[in-house]
């Protein structure tokens, strides 16, 4: 079995990178406004479908990826302004419920527009096939996903720590009232923050479509591991999301190899253990959500 461990670990890292990117998006949204976005998966799926539609009209993969990400972020802004911002004054419970209902609506809309079965979404030909690294043969697409997600993370960090908008966002997380008192348009910030989270989800969604197949429930299947990643890594911590994602991804892959029957539940067990021992997560801050 041991010779299978290396590719399985790589697989776990790739999955983990996915969970990390989605978790960062969730975490950004949760952190600033306390919104628990159960429709996050729907946005991922939406991006996948938009990319699919563009590609079947002849555009190339890269353009479709960029366009889908932007369009989905715009949809996110509309949803945020209309449905989510009224809930900012209330407890997180309501955003959880509303986005739960929203995910049901989205799922059915996807079925009505693109059909209930999976649609044939392929990675671009230059990314299919396999690459050999030492003894291990890896599908090129997975390597690409890892690289893409690393790029996204670096870009995100640069944005948050090197731009004025990023500075304001981080400031709003610390103390939104003060920021508003200083004259910043906090509503605009919340909108931007949400759009940023959705942008990350959209990128992950298009990448996932090529790996997992594109159907109405694709994003929802990735959502639970992503929430678990947020919990394990700690809300409000980027490093936590990355480490948490890798932990979850690797745990699932390794369990699939050695104890396949437990692979679906291992992430829940992991989360339960973390919640009981260190509820703030590995890197989380105390006091957020108790």
């Amino acid at each position: 079995m041991i010779e299978h461990l290396a590719p399985e670990l790589v697989n776990g890292v790739v999955l983990g990178a996915f969970y990390a990117i989605i978790a960062i998006g969730l975490s950004l949204i949760m952190n600033l406004t306390g919104t628990i976005n159960l429709a996050h998966g729907s946005f991922m799926t939406l991006a996948g479908y938009i990319a699919f539609t563009l590609m079947s009209r002849g555009t190339n993969f890269w353009f479709a990826l960029a366009a889908a990400a932007v369009c989905t972020a715009v949809v996110g802004i509309v949803v945020e302004r209309l449905l989510i911002s009224p809930l900012y004054k209330r407890v997180p419970l309501y955003s959880l419920l509303l986005t739960f209902g929203l995910s049901l609506v989205f799922e059915e809309l996807f079925r009505l527009i693109w059909g209930p079965s999976n649609v044939p979404f392929s990675a671009p030909p230059e990314l299919s096939g396999a690459t050999q690294i030492g003894d291990v043969v890896l599908p090129t697409y997975r390597l690409f996903i890892m690289a893409a997600l690393v790029v996204v993370m670096i870009a995100l960090l640069l944005f948050l720590y090197r731009t004025r908008l990023g500075l304001r966002l981080r400031g709003a997380v610390q103390d939104a009232e003060m920021l508003a008192a200083l004259g910043t348009n906090t509503q605009l910030l919340y909108m931007t923050n949400f759009a940023l989270g959705i942008l990350l989800a959209a990128i992950a969604g298009v990448l996932a479509a090529g790996l997992l197949g594109l159907g109405p429930t694709m994003g929802n299947e990735l959502l639970m591991p992503a929430f678990i990643t947020v919990v394990i890594g700690g809300m409000g911590s980027l490093a936590g999301s990355i480490v948490g994602g890798l932990l979850v991804g690797i745990a699932i892959s390794v369990t699939t190899l050695y104890v396949p029957a437990a692979s679906e539940v291992v992430m829940y067990v992991l989360m339960a253990v973390v919640l009981l021992i260190r509820p703030r997560g590995l890197f989380g801050e105390e006091g957020i959500f108790g």
Binding site: T33, K89, L96, G287
Partner: protein, 339 residues
């Protein structure tokens, strides 16, 4: 008009409606077992309400208790003794046992962490039902035939008679819940919902109360599930999935959180709307999801919560994670950080 008489009138009205349901439903082109489903889902929603409405805890895993009750009674009736009453007791006992097993873990956290833990444990039960297919039939489900009420040659309840049987048990449980809510125990739960820190400062071990609330919730959901698998003569893993739990939460929100009859009304609206809408359009899920979104935005207290007085609640600014304040349904934990 005082609360007492308002309640009395409301309760009598709903009571009469429920007693006449086996006549009303066919009159509008629906079948009686849909009424049974409404009653049993109302039990499941009530079990969620014990945690959500009275204790202020968002439970997203009650479908697991419902499902354990369903499989418990189904397996007992099919493989051990075809006796409805015994099967019901066994199913309820299994669900209560499940609650006793998971409660020690759940009581250690509050808020969103509590909710995620309920989802986690709920999913573990779901996967057990799915994987242990030698016993449960896995995704193919588990068939059974309706058993006689006390085994042997006693009559088998069907249709309207089964509905009234369920209604009787439901009424009994609802009355018990009504009394519990007004009892010192129930009042303590509501105190925990409003301000757990205060309750603990008074020397009350809130963990123990939440434990009992969880076990009670598991029991009520288990009764509903045990009766449901007999009603449809089938058990299946999706009964335990967290989406089913989400549906039960939806029913509570629609009907009115923290009221005794709210979950019943919510279950009725949800079950009947789904049944009727799906006969007319494949887009019924959009309508139900949209209706839910509308309620969350505009009527968060649900239909029966409309007349309720608002209450403000203090929020401790610095949170000690061990004694976190449970989120109530008005002002929240993050008030200091909210826009």
């Amino acid at each position: 008009m005082t609360m007492r008489s308002a309640n009395a009138v409301g309760v009598s009205f709903l009571g009469v409606l429920l007693v006449l349901l086996p006549v009303l439903l066919p009159a509008v082109g629906l079948n009686i077992s849909l009424g049974t489903t409404v009653i049993l889902f109302a039990l499941a929603a009530s079990s969620v309400n014990i945690l959500l409405g009275f204790t202020g805890l968002m439970a997203f895993g009650n479908a697991a208790f419902f499902g354990v009750g369903a499989y418990g009674s189904a397996l007992f009736i099919a493989d051990v003794n075809a006796n409805l009453i015994l099967g019901l007791l066994v199913g309820a006992a299994c669900a209560t046992l499940a609650a006793v097993i998971v409660a020690p873990f759940l009581i250690r956290r509050r808020g969103i962490y509590f909710s995620l833990l309920t989802i986690a444990f709920g999913q573990v039960f779901y996967f057990i039902a799915y994987r242990w297919s030698g016993v449960t039939g896995g995704e193919d489900g588990f068939s059974m035939t309706k058993p006689p009420i006390l085994g042997g040659s006693t009559p088998t309840l069907n249709g309207a008679s089964y509905y009234y049987f369920c209604l009787a048990i439901f009424a009994l449980l609802l009355f018990v819940l009504f009394r519990i809510v007004r009892s010192p125990f129930g009042l303590t739960l509501q105190g925990i919902a409003q301000n757990e820190a205060r309750v603990r400062y008074l020397g009350i071990n809130s963990d123990r109360f939440i434990f009992v609330a969880l076990v009670l919730s598991g029991f009520v959901a288990g009764v509903g599930g045990a009766l449901y698998s007999v009603s449809i003569a089938f058990s299946y893993p999706l009964l335990m999935d967290w989406h089913q739990s989400g549906d039960f939460v939806m029913m509570v929100i629609l009907g009115g959180v923290g009221t005794i009859w709210g979950p019943v009304l919510g279950a009725a609206i949800y079950a009947i709307a789904q049944n009727v809408l799906s006969s007319f359009t494949p887009a019924w899920q959009i309508i139900i999801g949209g209706m839910f979104i509308f309620f969350v935005l505009v009527f968060p207290k649900g239909l029966l919560g409309l007349g309720e007085a608002r209450r403000r609640r203090e929020v401790a600014a610095a949170q000690d994670p061990d004694v976190a304040v449970a989120p109530a349904l008005e002002v929240g934990l993050l008030e200091g950080r909210h826009p």
